[in-house]
């Protein structure tokens, strides 16, 4: 019989001194104590992840004592040692996402951090293995109940993947225990793509920051806490998984979600969704200055440009253009939930009123401050709660097709574009020096030809556009407008994936 070739790790182990070999054996005994997943294959894979990380440390010249200390199995906590027990009802905002999804269309968003050095996959895998336990509502699989979907705890090895495909493509969540997020790496970029049932942009940022902090700790760059980075070895707090829509102020009125359809940008909808991703990277200080010169906020200013560029990218002559603006409710309510806690408003202008940015910026600012007021947002949250309560006893098999039809006809078409501004993301000082920039990408909706999202880190504000049409008019006009205002963005992105 042919003798099996020793694996790279076996070769590494055989070259160690006796004391070091014992240290490694003791180390893997401890790993085994923490790694009690029922699936033998999953257990083996987690062990292989530790082996790969140790091999990386060896090749990078990190001494074995230090490597073992960084990878201490205590970081696994009890996560992989206990069977899954927890489950989470979806929050009021998340309930619509599984109802409205279709094959090829899913509410996915993506957050990325661009590091200054190339990502080491072996360490990123270990960082995810250690981090996931701190986010129990992320370590779940979406399940179908009789009345609502819910998230059921799923204990498994959560794997990082090399990026090889279209960003924000739908996640495969149908199989047993399939996660509702994916962690990707490419060159010096770490990205996490989330299905919106799990969290919103703010919760997703906390996960990404914690993952990056853990990755850098494993890389030996120090330990980082604060500025929204969670201690991965601390027990998760109940408040982090709560449905905080119950916090809404009591209001006499509730507001609905139905409105007249908005004008859509021109261009044929692509088969591949999104068909292109673009990032406009701008000087953040200059952007704030330009917005102030126009007596508005950065969101107000970008919205004004989007309206002008939108008008340029459609052949329609009249009608309303409505841009959806998500609003983070954590700014109004003291919440540290990692679930969805965002609402949205629509900024609406008549096409005939859109001439240039300066002429519409005042109206946009007025609508922004009025529609995002605590009163209006509370009315909307109460509207959402009322809607959820009114259909709570309707079985899912009736609710799902009805919701899909209503969402297709009304929910999606009410808006022609989206601008989600995550604001300024801060990291602890020691960690910031390892990061170049961040970006935030939304998956496209059913009919929107473009969806925009923005995030600022350090001196760089990144406006990302997800396209669902090959027609480049919108982004070209937006670029021209920014350029004319002295912002001259650096444009990065993907190739055109298809028409």
């Amino acid at each position: 019989m042919k003798k099996r070739e020793p694996t790279a790790f076996e070769q590494y182990k055989s070259a160690l001194l006796e004391a070091q070999e014992k240290m490694i054996s003791d180390f893997f005994t401890k790993v085994g104590e923490h790694n009690a997943l029922r699936s033998k294959r999953e257990r083996r894979r987690i062990c292989a992840d530790f082996e790969n990380a140790l091999l990386y440390y060896s090749s990078a010249g990190v001494n074995i004592e230090d490597a073992v200390k960084r990878l201490a199995p205590e970081n696994l906590g009890g996560f992989y040692a206990r069977p899954p027990a927890a489950w989470y009802a979806l929050d009021d905002a998340a309930k619509v996402y599984p109802l409205s999804m279709k094959h090829g269309t899913m509410a996915v968003f993506r957050l990325s951090v661009h590091l200054k050095k190339k990502v080491i996959p072996e360490l990123l895998q270990m960082a995810l293995t250690f981090t996931i336990k701190r986010f129990p509502s992320f370590a779940t699989a979406l399940k179908k109940g009789v009345f609502w979907h819910y998230l059921d705890a799923s204990k498994r090895r959560y794997a990082v993947e090399e990026e090889r495909d279209v960003p924000c493509r739908p996640l495969k969540i149908s199989r047993s225990g399939s996660p509702s997020f994916r962690v990707l790496y490419y060159e010096n970029r770490i990205s996490v793509e989330y299905f919106h049932v799990l969290t919103d942009g703010a919760g997703g940022t906390v996960f990404l920051k914690t993952l990056v902090a853990e990755y850098l700790r494993l890389l030996g760059e120090g330990e980082f806490k604060g500025d929204g980075i969670l201690d991965i070895n601390e027990a998760p707090r109940i408040s982090e998984t709560s449905n905080d829509f119950s916090m809404a102020d009591k209001t006499k009125n509730t507001s609905g979600f139905i409105d007249r359809p908005s004008l859509q940008l021109g261009g044929r909808l692509s088969d591949i969704k999104p068909c292109r991703i673009l990032h406009f990277k701008m000087d953040a200080k200059r952007l704030v200055m330009v917005a102030r010169e126009k007596n508005t906020t950065v969101t107000g200013y970008i919205l004004a440009l989007m309206f002008v560029a939108g008008k340029f990218a459609t052949d329609e002559m009249k009608g309303n253009m409505n841009i959806q603006v998500p609003v983070n409710m954590r700014k109004e309510y003291p919440s540290d939930t990692l679930r969805n806690f965002s609402m949205y408003c629509g900024i609406k202008l008549d096409l005939e009123d859109i001439a240039d940015a300066d002429s519409i910026v005042g109206e946009i600012s007025r609508q922004l401050s009025e529609k995002t007021s605590r009163q209006n947002m509370s009315e909307m949250m109460n509207g959402a709660k009322k809607l959820v309560a009114s259909v709570r006893y309707v079985p899912l098999f009736i609710k799902a097709p009805v919701a899909r039809i209503i969402y297709g006809f009304l929910g999606d078409k009410v808006f022609g574009n989206t601008l989600s501004n995550l604001g300024v993301v801060e990291f602890p000082e020691g960690l910031s020096k390892h990061i170049d920039s961040m970006d935030f990408v939304l998956a496209t909706a059913l009919t929107h030809r473009a969806s925009c999202a923005m995030v600022t880190f350090g001196d760089t504000a990144t406006l990302s556009i997800s396209k669902m049409t090959a027609d480049p008019s919108f982004e070209e006009k937006l670029f021209e407008l920014l350029y004319n205002d002295g912002l001259a963005p650096d444009v990065e992105g993907s190739e055109l994936y298809g028409y």
């Binding site: 029922r38 699936s39 069977p83 899954p84 027990a85 489950w87 009802a89 599984p98 999804m101 279709k102 094959h103 090829g104 269309t105 699989a141 979406l142 399940k143 179908k144 109940g145 009789v146 009345f147 609502w148 979907h149 819910y150 059921d152 799923s154 990026e163 090889r164 495909d165 279209v166 960003p167 969540i173 149908s174 199989r175 047993s176 225990g177 490419y186 060159e187 970029r189 449905n243 088969d271 591949i272 991703i277 673009l278 990032h279 709570r392 006893y393 982004e475 070209e476 670029f479 650096d490 444009v491 990065e492 992105g493 993907s494 190739e495 994936y497 298809g498």
Partner: protein, 191 residues
């Protein structure tokens, strides 16, 4: 506007599900429209109901499968339920007199198959067991109703189906213990 490419080239992929749906939906929609029209025009028994339900089975199991909880147990149960309904339709509309024997056989065969999938991998499958519980309950209720309402026409197939369903329910409760009721609580939550 110069674009610096910072994403990898898209890998060549197999045909995607949404493309299959896109291509299949028009011929299927045409068939859904044509069957009742032809049936009405040529007259005779309502074979188009059987055809429409068969198209539904092909669509829901083959072309546009479940987006959530697509697992072996759920698919076996779905197949059994759909097959049973189809057999009843054929019996009622086209060739009467045999479904009362055949459908219980299909059901207890399906229960056995789903039970085998469940009991051989309990740790993983306990989170997928709800469709099995539902079929167990339905089989028990149908058997009990049959025995009560048509005492003189009780067939061995109905007794076997009810007995097997009851035995499986007892086994599930015994094995899962509190987990069984936790699973029920999750599945029936209204919050």
């Amino acid at each position: 506007m110069d674009i610096k490419i910072v994403y990898p080239a898209r890998k060549k992929r197999k045909i995607q599900r949404d493309q299959i749906i896109k291509w299949a939906k028009w011929p299927i929609a045409a068939a859904v429209f044509a069957c009742p029209v032809v049936n009405i025009c040529v007259g005779g028994p309502a074979w188009s109901a059987v055809a429409l339900f068969s198209i539904w089975i092909i669509w829901s199991l083959g072309i546009s499968p479940d987006l959530v909880e697509y697992n072996r147990i759920s698919q076996v149960i779905k197949l059994i339920v759909n097959a049973s309904i189809l057999l009843i339709l054929i019996d009622v509309l086209l060739a009467p007199g045999w479904a009362a024997d055949v459908v219980p056989i299909v059901c207890f065969g399906g229960l056995s198959a789903a039970g085998a999938l469940f009991f051989t991998d309990i740790d993983r499958q306990k989170q997928n067991a709800m469709p099995l519980f539902a079929l167990i309950i339905v089989s028990m209720v149908v058997s009990a109703a049959w025995i009560i309402l048509w005492r003189d026409e009780v067939r061995w197939t109905v007794i076997v189906m009810g007995a097997l369903a009851f035995a499986m329910l007892v086994a599930c409760v015994a094995i899962l213990g509190g987990g069984f009721f936790r699973e029920i609580k999750k599945r029936f939550h209204t919050a």
